[in-house]
């Protein structure tokens, strides 16, 4: 049986691991390679690395991180942030990424989703969608690491990306991100019921129940989390144990 995945998310800024709230007020939370090593020893299911401030210099540091992690962590890696061309895509796969995440590029150059899927297979194209509610309460897609809000409905955008070949959706609610008060459950459920590909919940996990709700009620295939692992005494091991007790199919060490 396919297991539900628990995925620590490592946000990167100039080679350091950071964590904020609602895509702002970032705090340094350590060295990403050291963190990956710890997660690997805890046998987590996968790691997601996202460069939240992509630049020419950060690109090099991300590559170095993936290279270092790949030397000792024999586990699945998803990498994103600043991927703009097929060459960027290919380079990350070569370095050891199993999947590449596209966010801003999926909006600005949707052909990259199609070309990535055509060349590397749909299974390694993750489309990451950040969104928040506008003053009238409508959800809108946000790109460039939270800087630019578009007049674009996230569900429409997701359906289009899946049509183009996205193999997985990483869905992050900026309003919930870092708040640790739960994911945007209604929207997760709506998206997961509309797309045939796996959905990863992101933004807002603060309690063990949040993971269960996203995986069971919303039918997400995986749950991503940052703050709960950085700032509380919860660990992926505890999450896994809790979910096992709730009769969910997770990988047990």
């Amino acid at each position: 049986m396919l297991k539900k995945r628990i995925i620590p998310m490592l946000l990167l800024k100039e080679g350091r691991m950071v964590k904020g709230k609602r895509f702002a007020n970032f705090r340094d939370v350590g060295n990403p390679v050291t963190a990956a090593r710890v997660y690997n020893s805890q046998k987590v299911d996968e790691l997601i690395f996202l460069d939240i401030e992509p630049s020419t210099s950060s690109r090099e540091s991300v590559k170095q991180i993936i290279r270092s992690v790949g030397e000792e962590c024999f586990m699945p890696l998803t990498v994103g942030g600043g991927v703009r061309t097929l060459e960027d895509f290919h380079e990350l796969l070569q370095l050891g990424a199993d999947k590449v995440s596209l966010n801003t590029a999926a909006v600005k150059t949707p052909s990259l989703v199609r070309e990535g899927a055509r060349r590397f297979g749909d299974q390694c194209v993750v489309v990451s969608v950040d969104y928040k509610r506008d003053p009238s309460g409508k959800r809108k897609v946000v790109i460039e690491s939270g800087k630019k809000t578009l007049d674009l409905d996230p569900l429409d955008h997701i359906l289009r990306c899946v049509e183009l070949g996205a193999g997985e959706i990483l869905l992050t609610s900026i309003d919930h991100e870092g708040e640790m008060e739960g994911y945007d459950f209604p929207f997760l459920q709506q998206v997961a019921s509309r797309v045939p590909v796996p959905v990863i919940a992101s933004g807002g996990a603060g309690k063990l129940e949040h993971f269960e709700k996203a995986l069971v009620e919303c039918d997400c295939s995986a749950v991503g989390a940052g703050s709960i692992f950085h700032f509380t005494d919860q660990s992926p091991i505890k999450v896994r144990y809790y979910l096992t007790v709730q009769n969910l199919a997770v990988r047990v060490k």
Partner: protein, 222 residues
């Protein structure tokens, strides 16, 4: 020495790192001399079938690999797309001929029917067939990492080395003489995967008896 075939289709360094972690010398190469000198081969791969075959042809690796695998009987491990390329044909985005070492067809998972979303991504449990040496050291945990939309359907049931269940029962691994292949990624499956990779690296196929003919099919290809 292990030659990891570099034909421009992804993930070669993870495989190299995993081999080195297990104490084996491994090179990433497309050089015919190095491939011929190696003791065993790994054919990794992430990507689309048609393009992968095209790359192998453009790099003049197809005839060389036929020689190494079918005539010299060098042990080879195919991973993910590398396993699929060993099949006779694939229907991924058109119809493509493969290397043809395993009589099999590569097909897509049935169109997603909940809860079986496609691609099949994540950790799933394999059921090894009895007496497959590569799985002999596995303990209770048989979860390995998959990330794919297509899978192999072998014609000969006895060449299936392990199965896995995802809506349907599909072939997770094949084993035929010196050829071993996995649809999952041993180099990404933590200790379970490393154990499988280690078993492959330590394994030697039973040597052919003197005078025994090479398996049929070699002549056709040569």
């Amino acid at each position: 020495m292990i030659a990891i075939i570099d034909y421009g289709m992804g993930n070669v360094f993870s495989v190299k790192n995993a081999c080195e972690f297990l104490g084996e010398e491994a090179i990433v190469t497309r050089n015919p001399g190095e491939i011929a000198r190696s003791d065993r081969l790994i054919l990794p791969g992430v990507g689309a079938f048609g393009e992968a075959m095209e790359n192998l042809r453009d790099l003049n690796l197809v005839t060389l690999l036929h020689e190494e695998v079918l005539q010299k009987k060098k042990p080879i491990l195919g991973i993910c797309l590398g396993m699929q390329l060993m099949a006779s044909q694939s229907v991924e985005k058109g119809n493509h001929g493969g290397l043809g070492w395993v009589a099999a067809k590569v097909v897509r998972f049935p169109r997603s029917s909940f809860p079986f979303r496609v691609p099949h991504v994540g950790w799933n449990e394999i059921s090894p067939r009895p007496n497959v040496p590569f799985f002999a050291n596995l303990k209770k945990d048989r979860n390995v990492y998959f990330v794919h939309s297509y899978h192999l359907v072998p014609e000969n049931n006895h060449e299936i080395a392990a199965t896995c269940s995802y809506g349907i029962e599909f072939c997770a691994s094949v084993w035929k003489e010196n050829i071993f292949a996995t649809q999952f990624h041993p180099e990404k499956s933590q200790n379970v995967g490393l154990s499988i990779l280690e078993s492959f690296l330590e394994w030697s196929p039973p040597s052919r008896k003197p005078g025994e003919l090479a398996s049929t099919g070699v002549e056709e290809i040569a």
